[in-house]
Symmetry: C2
Subunit: 203 residues, 2 copies
């Protein structure tokens, strides 16, 4: 399988972590791919007209995106314990946490695009504050709901670890550890997993 | 079930259409909810810290978001034909089309926020052009892949109809019908469905 990928993308990292956790990483060939919202990537466009990573080409030549779809697909290719619980409350808790974590990441990325890519005179505090609040409230909600972090590793945990890892890597929101001891006790433990250590983002 | 909802949101519309198509709409109580990226909604935040619609509170009191998770959850509550195919190629085709349609919608919404909400002097052509290209290329890809539109109605078709309906409602991208006869033959037919007619967006 071929994965259009970037080391700094938290969504591409989700996919590679999923592959490692499910023993599929040897079957995944990563293709370093540069994407930015103001720079069209004509090479990626035929595979994914949204020009985003991650984008997967399966062994059968089918194209899959975004990270949620790719991760769920990979999870069907192995016989071990599933990262996407099959049904019932466990499934919805995992998928809700994935949504929340992805939503925090999205808000973080929009902050970074605003501050890191947009010309300084075009930056708007109203936008930055709005997106920052979403991310910060999201982290606080997880800090205050111990149940979300418990139980066997699922795709929600992986999404959350990628979100936090990316926010600390880009330092988009200052010291996000402050006031969130439970969340970061969990994160620092999760960070020890070989799948996390093998996928540390690089600039 | 209680659905935090806005008439103009293409993602909230996805959920209501899913409910109608699966015969669950009578069980859904919609709560009109105003959200905007620069206006925090303190009432919604305890349910969804990202402060986005749609957000669902199930009969059991569980909270679910975003639209993908809610729609998949609703699809487990009925015994009819499933909008999320259970497995195999049919499932991935449906989920990929949903991702593509949601990605087109996301790019469209970012264009609208830029032009409709951001102060004029802070608007950046580089951003608008980048997001516009994603949406336009996405529509073209669907026009050129007849298979995506064929087969029994699935969640990908619903997401696509909501995306197109929203782009025409907001007129974010000019005349998107031009040069896409197959896509709009499909759309105009889909638009006749009672679920589409019952959920036309209002400003």
């Amino acid at each position: 399988m071929k994965l259009y990928w970037s080391s700094a993308s938290p969504y591409a990292r989700k996919v590679v972590i999923t592959a490692i956790e499910t023993g599929l990483d040897k079957k995944l060939q990563t293709v370093p791919t540069a994407v930015a919202p103001n720079k069209p990537n004509a090479e990626l466009a035929p595979q994914n007209p949204l020009m985003k990573v991650p984008t997967l080409v399966t062994d059968g030549g089918e194209i899959l995106f975004d990270s949620r779809v790719i991760c769920e697909y990979l999870d069907t290719l192995h016989d071990g314990r599933k990262l996407f619980p099959a049904a019932g409350g466990e499934r919805w808790r995992a998928l809700r946490l994935q949504s929340l974590a992805d939503g925090i990441t999205d808000a973080g990325i929009l902050c970074r695009y605003e501050i890191g890519i947009r010309p300084a005179e075009k930056q708007w505090d109203g936008w930055i504050e709005g997106q920052r609040l979403k991310a910060i409230q999201g982290l606080d909600a997880i800090e205050n709901d111990g149940e979300l972090l418990s139980g066997a590793v699922n795709i929600g945990h992986i999404a959350l670890a990628c979100s936090i890892g990316w926010m600390e890597f880009r330092n988009t929101h200052g010291d996000i550890r402050k006031g969130r001891p439970k969340l970061f006790r969990w994160y620092d433990e999760f960070l020890k997993r070989p799948s996390m250590q093998a996928t540390l983002p690089k600039a």
